[in-house]
Symmetry: C2
Subunit: 379 residues, 2 copies
């Protein structure tokens, strides 16, 4: 194996490959990147317990002297290519023991691993793709992934659920305290029901960072393969039945308050500076409870009380108020902040009821996106 | 106590005050900021075991309705003022129990502490200042503080030593593996010998971040007071005798290699990607050993060998070479990187000898700065 390639091209592909590279692995070979050079192309593969990534390069800058296969120490290889300044790098195998990397006046020798030890990655067959714009997938991930469960208590909730039925793709995430849901029109594709691990989606969003064209999705029973430009990105799916969330969103709300999103975000962040921090469990982030009050006189107030430090309150000026009575609800400020940040809309509406019935955020620019939050009991 | 002030002015002062605020303290009152409002001015004070800071504000935007004193929870107060968007904030005491902060439509109430419990801070008398430009002090800190010891094994080495004698101010830092030294001409000031804790210097550099005019230094037996604009910044000094470092820097070097600094830095950082990491002690950072070789043919090579991963080498092209024989020395790449970064010079010279005699870096733009590194034995 012996070839030369533009460093920029190699690095761009390694950045995608790094998405599938485990930091540690019970199988040491998986900390390596598999490289395979054919007569005309370079293939690279990485894989961990959730994700496998393959890129194939047939770039004009790729000059192959001899084909071959190897597995190189992943992190070291990426770090070196990242730190190099040269325009070109040349890579060659020495005695089938060492990968020699030459760049300008630098020479790097990495001990390689046996490509025969690298497990065979079974990619889903490239048939019957569902085509979607990359932007659309990145938006779905941004709108839902944050609301998945972080703890493994109910493993199925650590994933984002996608269900296609009657030309509607429902995308749902919940950690049982809040729920994100967005709906997409999809024509001419067979129904499916899958749950994708949240980490895989976060890595997919990063892998597609600079890519804005069409993406093809291929489904198997337990895997999803995403193909874009020269990349195959495959993730395992989560086993088990996703809970039925269709009846969680209340059909109507007695109170609707419309706000400028940024003003509301600022006020929530300020008030929550003083809200008492509680740890739910070791795996959950600390969260803090704030209170929303709407008085008979239509004054809207966010507030919090912290016995050891003090109180905070901000009066909000809604752009529009529809109500038929006063309310007082308490909820996690983090949930509200994260829900608000998932919107691109400038104006968002808080749809709520008295007591501990869930409330829902909607945005004027994103009619298909619903963010639901379960209040907590305030005594 | 009741006054109004521009938020920007208050925040700028709180950013300086935060330099003296401990995260935790065996004396809970010290986690507070002492505020004192006179008929015309606002004073704020913070203090921890090393540093005390006082700022006094008589800004045009300060409107005092009634004077008073209090101690407010430091972190919470700073966080709130930081997050507020309003142009003005008003602060008042309610029943001598609560500080009420009003800003636009927000109201924040903080439980206060008794100002009588706040310890009296003994600032050094404002007599006989040594005047220096702020830029000069920030440069001294940048050039030396990084080379102090991080561990408390020899407490005196955790400080930067300043000694004024015969119109020369010697500024020295060493962790016994490397040494930074810079010399400054100072006219008409009495001799002194002090060692300043590294953390105090780092905080001082941050406190002076946006300040570039003259600074006054006042000395007492065990304290240094730095006065700039409306700020008093005082630090304790370290007890004990600083070791005599005057004979550590070798008087001459058989080999001098001049490099472009950035090229050398890049090469060191690349080669050290593969150098074996070793932990010295829990309190020291991990460091890695690289090797510099100059051959008879005047080839200059940086290299490293890592039994488990591989080898790296970079050939360097010195701008100028003076030598009378080949050498091979090994040293910590981190020490070389940090020493190089302390220079503003574009070209730096490596002055070295064979074996384990210390080598020295000098820069064409900074004739008074010397960075010395002790090589390690290479077997």
């Amino acid at each position: 194996m012996n070839f030369t390639i533009d460093r920029e091209v190699l690095l761009e592909n390694l950045n995608v490959i790094s998405r599938g590279l485990p930091a540690k692995s019970p199988m040491p070979i998986l900390t390596g990147i598999k490289m395979e050079v054919t007569a005309s192309d370079l293939y690279m593969t990485s894989s961990n317990s959730d994700i496998s990534v393959e890129t194939f390069i047939s770039d004009a800058s790729l000059q192959i002297d001899s084909p071959g296969k190897t597995v190189v120490p992943g992190r070291f290889f990426i770090d070196i290519i990242r730190k190099i300044n040269s325009k070109k790098v040349s890579l060659s195998l020495v005695d089938d023991k060492i990968l020699l990397i030459k760049a300008d006046r630098g020479e790097y020798k990495l001990h390689i691993m046996d490509p025969l030890d690298y497990p065979n990655i079974d990619f889903v067959t490239l048939e019957n793709p569902l085509e979607l714009p990359a932007e659309c997938i990145k938006t779905l991930i941004k709108q839902t992934s944050f609301a998945t469960a972080q703890s493994e208590k109910k493993p199925i909730l650590t994933g984002v659920h996608l269900s296609l039925n009657e030309n509607k793709l429902n995308v749902t995430a919940t950690d049982s305290f809040r729920l994100s849901q967005t709906v997409l029109e999809i024509e001419n594709y067979r129904p499916f029901n899958i749950t994708i691990p949240n980490k895989s989606l976060d890595e997919l969003a990063r892998a597609m960072d600079n890519y804005n064209e069409n993406v093809s999705l291929y489904f198997s029973v337990n895997k999803l393969l995403v193909k874009f430009k020269n990349v195959l990105f495959q993730t395992r799916l989560l086993d088990g039945n996703y809970p039925d969330t269709s009846r969680i969103i209340p059909p109507s709300f007695p109170i609707r308050l419309k706000f400028n999103k940024d003003e509301l975000l600022d006020a929530v962040e300020r008030v929550s500076l003083l809200s008492p921090r509680e740890k739910m469990t070791a795996s959950e982030l600390s969260y803090s409870i704030i209170k929303l009050t709407v008085t008979e006189e239509r004054n809207v107030i966010l507030s919090t009380t912290n016995a050891s430090v003090g109180d905070a309150q901000e009066e909000l000026l809604p752009i529009d108020t529809q109500m038929n009575g006063p309310i007082m609800i308490g909820f996690s400020s983090r949930y509200l902040v994260e829900a608000l940040r998932s919107f691109d809309s400038v104006e968002i509406t808080l749809n709520c009821s008295e007591g501990i019935r869930p409330f829902v955020l909607t945005g004027e620019k994103e009619p298909n996106l619903t963010q639901l939050i379960l209040p907590v009991r305030m005594d």
